[in-house]
């Protein structure tokens, strides 16, 4: 499962377990309009940390938090990108 699919499936699960069905999970969905409150988003981030082994909110130097689902997914895709171990490689 890709990172995007994992994020969306967990998003959906947390939303369903909170009994907060909301709008379709599209890239332009504003997170605060998604049906998840702060606690729901916090639970989602914890579940994703356990599955993907990354917490981009803590691990990276984010200056502005994500506003849309697309930005939220990008954050995980960037954090989950495998790092090249070759010497001299900037990636």
């Amino acid at each position: 499962m890709s990172i995007k699919e994992t994020v969306i499936s967990q998003f959906d699960e947390v939303r369903r377990s909170s009994n907060k069905p909301g709008r379709p999970l599209t890239d332009d969905l504003v997170l605060l309009d998604s049906g998840l409150d702060s606690l729901g988003l916090a639970i989602l981030v914890t579940k994703l940390e356990d599955i993907l082994d990354v917490d981009p909110f803590t691990d990276s130097d984010i200056t502005v938090p994500p506003v849309t689902l697309g930005e939220f997914i990008q954050l995980y895709e960037r954090a989950g990108k495998p790092h090249c171990v070759h010497q001299g490689c900037a990636d």
Binding site: L31, L32, S38, I43, D55, P65
Partner: protein, 467 residues
Amino acid sequence: MNALASPIASIRDALISAGCLRCRVLCGATSSVAIKTLLHGSSLGCNHAGELSGRSILLTTNDQLAAALALIELDGIASRIVICPPETTPEHFPSLIGKGSIDTVVSDYELPKYYSLTGLSQVRCGSTIRPVDDVHIDRRPTEWVLLSSGTTGAPKMIVHNLTSLVAPIKLATSPGEKLVWGTFYDIRRYGGLQVFLRAALGGGSLVLSGDTETTGEHLIRLSKQGVTHLSGTPSQWRRALMSPEAHRIDPSYIRLSGEIVDQAILNALRSFYPKAAVGHAFASTEAGVGFEVNDGLAGFPAAILNHDTSVEIKVCNDSLRIRSNRTASHYLDSRNGALVNGDGFVDTGDIVELRGDRYYFLGRRNGVINVGGLKVYPEEVEAVINRHPAVRMSVVRPRRNPITGSLVSADIMLKDASLAEQQSQVIKSEILEICQQSLAHHKIPVIIRYVNSVGVAATGKLSRHDA
């Protein structure tokens, strides 16, 4: 910086002496009130506030604006006001009424019929002002009783007076400066009450949050009122920055407190609102406002401990202790123990660590978990989990989280550790169901792990420290 004129007889007297009430308003989610109208009017459903002279009042409202108006009217008249925060449920009322020697309930909603049979007076309050005749009322000091979660779920009743509540308020004011205070906090808790008192006594207007409005709607209202000073917990600020409406406001001062403030949220706010001064403060309902940090960095400078100010701060056994005229005087229920130690210091229970020339907060000594500014006592959650007949023991701990600071996690030891996977999954669902029936949403464990043993310290108590 100007200290408020002290002592202040009552909020109402301070408003009168402040003069220049023109244009100052209290804005709720659905209505606003010009402060000036309150001096010749009442929001209470009795002839005038003087009828409540000397009463011991339980104030419970759905609407923050109704609470704000009632507080302005009742301070200096009532002998005691017990302020119920929004999560106070009717099941707590009998205990609060008994411990607070309450004779009058002031509320903006219909109380259950039971209360009309108890002999308690009931007075309605609201968010509209009707004119009343000016009547001379003798002023008296009012006890302000704030509620804070307790170990068993029953709230602790913490006694302040107006002097201790306003002691931290020092305002930098320039002639002609328009002050519009805003808060993500609820003014029925200590942090929000501080903002309310700053606005009421220090000048300016105040924009309150609404129970049902979204963060975006609140930000739009804050923007329309031209908010200049805005306060909230780190979790509330993180949520605000996730709103597309965050760019609408342009505050000159941003303040955070109520949770551990990390460098990431300070950097994010500085980047998003480059014109704003960003500060954070340490405060608790018991200790009052301890200190403010305005250097843009998380933690606090160790030099604060040696400052010769009205607030004495020391670190004993790694926990922060505070002695000042801002602290509460006592718990109303003596069974909660002494609020102040023999030496006059309040042990905040907040554990700090010295790194270089700065202290950093690590968490709470008694294991209290702070979920987005709301306290969770592990013992309360463990007691609920342990109700399940298959559970031998459980230990509840914080799990660090970048959105709410912490979440609740539970390690559970079953009586029969050899249960099949399917059976243990069923038990997990049943435990969660019990938690959902008995606990507020933020107290329900997010992570449940089965363990073969739980740590017990030499004292015989559960070891709550992370492995």
